[in-house]
């Protein structure tokens, strides 16, 4: 069998296509056994691995424009795997995989110091303030491939890593090491009715995500596609989730710019 090449799984989300329906959020919660509260009005302590933000251009009618921005974990690579959260975790409970580019979270090792949450500028990490409680009978519908998390630990989007493991197992049984693009897809990607989310290996030129984004390895994966951008590019977090938009104001909403920095400046 041919030696496996290092993957760099990533995602591109077309914000021009996203309708803000929230199917990705629902699919994510169902797939990953994400617990919820009886009253979900306080979003500051509810868990949403995938969260859809509503952005506005701030202009009055009739120039008002809005955009929905789904935000999973960015699986930042940082500088050589030193993503903001991985480098700070004191107990090595979160790790950057050089094989897949996925930032993992080891729930049974996390002791709940929440330093990773302080480090993450995307608010992609969530703390289990309560023990998970499922409505009567719902526990029968939990995903057996994903362990529920206990109170007092941090959790976050895993790019549905269990699906990667299942796909790898299946490929191994079939005598393969490499996965086909469609063999490993995240739940949110498959659930999006508008087809706004594309997931795959950023290192693989045959994958759509690579073709759309055209990541520039010489500049820490920055997109060559002029319509593509990453959130908070200037911080150096080097995320693997990209966004697409034909609208200038949307692209500029992804980062901070000084007053004198015109459109396209600052990077």
């Amino acid at each position: 069998m041919k030696h496996e090449q290092a993957k760099k799984y990533g995602m591109v989300i077309d914000l021009d296509k996203c309708t803000g329906c929230g199917a990705c959020m629902v699919a994510c919660m169902a797939e990953n056994n994400v617990p919820f509260k009886e009253d979900e009005t306080n979003k500051l302590d509810s868990i949403t691995w995938m969260r859809v933000y509503q952005l506005t251009n701030g202009k009055p009618f009739p120039d008002t424009d809005i955009c929905y921005l789904p935000r999973p974990c960015m699986h930042c690579e940082g500088d050589h795997g030193h993503s903001p959260c991985v480098s700070v975790c004191p107990a090595t409970a979160t790790d950057y995989s050089m094989d897949t580019g996925i930032v993992s979270q080891i729930y049974t090792r996390c002791f709940g110091c929440r330093y990773c949450m302080a480090a993450c500028p995307y608010h992609a990490r969530y703390f289990n303030w309560w023990d998970p409680v499922w409505p009567n009978g719902m526990e029968k519908y939990l995903n057996p491939n994903v362990s529920p998390r206990m109170r007092g630990v941090v959790e976050k989007c895993s790019f549905c890593y269990h699906r990667y493991q299942l796909a790898k197992d299946r490929a191994f049984m079939e005598g393969r090491r490499e996965l086909e693009e469609e063999e490993y897809q995240t739940a949110c990607t498959q659930a999006c009715p508008a087809g706004a989310i594309v997931f795959g290996d950023l290192n693989n030129k045959t994958h759509r995500v690579h073709q759309i984004v055209q990541p520039d390895p010489a500049h820490a994966g920055r997109p060559k596609n002029p319509k593509a951008f990453r959130l908070l590019e200037r911080l150096g977090t080097n995320p693997k989730v990209y966004y697409l938009s034909s609208r200038e104001w949307v692209r500029r909403s992804g980062d901070h710019y000084l007053p004198h920095e015109g459109p396209g400046g600052g990077h």
Binding site: S87, C89, A91, C110, G112, Y115, G152, D255, H256
Partner: protein
């Protein structure tokens, strides 16, 4: 009732009065313990922390007590390694305050983590890249050093000291104390610095992030420096409060003067470094990330530019200016004002490095989340204060914390005694000059 336990040559109030005065403090302690148990049993949902404020009042309290407890390592460093002999008269108290601060910090950390039973994972699965790992190791080791430094004081209790073994042990421990002081200074340099590094390495948080030297951001050095500057201020402040509460002079003015002078110089140099750091951050570091200085201090109900002025000018420049002048140090009101302002300054610094860091919105489409602590957080934060008061009270009552106390407060005979009082064996004739009335 318990006179036999008192240090030699000093007077203490009757035991019932002592216990009665501690009553409210014990009530505060019980309140804190109840809140602590609630957090352990029911979980951190008892707090007002949330996913935007993963760190909050407790981590601020942690960083603050460690900075304020810095008086122990720095006074020890000055006394044993630099040879400032005069400071032997305040070192016991500095060590006691350090012991209280560090034990409090460890307790708060034990409450703060989501899975307290897994706290040992920080040692077992240690991530060498994490500043928090360095904090945990150094802090635990230094607490051990502080315990060793505090132990001889406990063994010097009049009754314990009568046991030859303990007497000799104390003697030998005093002999090797410079070694522990050096160890303490070394460990403190790293854990104080690492606490600064905790915020400084957060390159995803432009308010806290700083460049630095090798792996250490500038906050690493600023935190160590500020602990050495402000820790002694806290020691002086508490010593003065203890004098007020006991109605006695416990430490001679020249001791205060020396420590305050050194703290003043440390504070002055620190505040210059802090101003340079702030200037560089505001003009280079933050703009490189597309953020303007005023973005960190506007569009929110709490964090205005006033907090920076409070920290640097009112809590730094002014107390440093007071402590650098002889007149300022020798005027009781000015000295007290300076040390109180200094303590406020370092408290504000730790607050902004923890709370404002998290409050500043980093995603451009997010707002400022605000936070106020729940009563459980308040009670558990006050718990160490109550515990500290009780430990200071008991230590003062039964241990020779202040070596100059007997000299400064000679015991005079009771009015009912015969006209010609018997000579006091503990007080030397020259001590009369130093009676509180004349001082």
């Amino acid at each position: 009732m318990d006179d036999a336990l008192f240090p030699k040559g000093v007077k203490r109030c009757p035991l019932p009065e002592f216990l009665m005065k501690l009553g409210p403090v014990v009530a505060l302690l019980i309140w804190g313990v109840v809140a602590m148990l609630m957090c352990w049993i029911k979980g951190l949902n008892q707090t007002n922390m949330n996913d935007a404020y993963g760190f909050a009042a407790w981590i601020w309290a942690d960083l603050t007590v460690i900075a304020l407890g810095g008086g122990a390592f720095f006074t020890g460093f000055l006394r044993y390694l630099i040879g400032k002999e005069k400071l032997k008269n305040i070192i016991n108290f500095a060590v006691l305050i350090g012991f209280i601060c560090y034990s409090s910090a460890l307790l708060i950390l034990a409450i703060d983590i989501g899975q307290p039973l897994r706290g040992w994972f920080i040692f077992w699965h240690a991530n060498v890249h994490s500043m928090l790992t360095e904090v945990a190791f150094c802090l635990t080791c230094y607490f051990g050093v502080l315990t060793i430094e505090y132990l001889p004081l406990v063994l010097e209790n009049r009754q314990i000291d009568r046991v030859p073994f303990f007497h000799n042990l104390t003697h030998h421990m005093h002999e090797v104390m410079p070694l522990f002081a050096a160890t303490g200074a070394f460990l403190s340099f790293f854990h104080q610095g690492s606490l600064g590094g905790v915020a400084g390495v957060l390159f995803g948080r432009p308010f806290a992030f700083r460049e630095g030297l090798f792996i250490w951001p500038w906050t690493f050095f600023l935190f160590t420096w500020s602990a050495a500057a402000y820790g002694p201020c806290f020691t002086i402040m508490l010593a003065k409060i203890t004098e007020k509460v006991t109605g006695k002079r416990l430490i001679k003015d020249d001791v205060y003067d020396l420590l305050a002078k050194i703290a003043g110089w440390m504070m002055a140099t620190y505040i210059v470094a802090k101003i340079i750091d702030t200037w560089y951050w505001a003009t280079v570091t933050a703009p490189a990330r597309g953020m303007t200085f005023m973005q960190f201090y506007s569009n929110n109900p709490l964090y205005g530019i006033w907090i920076l002025i409070l920290e640097i000018v009112i809590g730094g420049v002014i107390p440093a200016a007071i402590l650098l002048t002889r007149k300022g140090r020798n005027t009781p009101f000015a000295l007290m004002t300076a040390v109180v302002l200094g303590v406020i300054g370092v408290c504000v610094n730790r607050w902004v490095m923890v709370l404002q860091t998290l409050a500043v919105p980093v995603l451009p489409f997010e707002g400022w989340p605000m936070y106020y602590p729940s009563w459980q957080e308040v009670a558990t934060t006050l718990l160490p204060v109550a515990y500290g008061i009780i430990l200071v009270a008991f230590s003062y009552r039964y241990l020779p914390v202040f070596p100059q106390e007997a000299e400064l407060n000679p015991i005079v005979s009771e009015p009912a005694a015969p006209p010609a009082p018997a000579p006091d064996t503990d007080a030397e004739p020259a001590d009369a000059e130093l009676s509180p009335a004349q001082a």
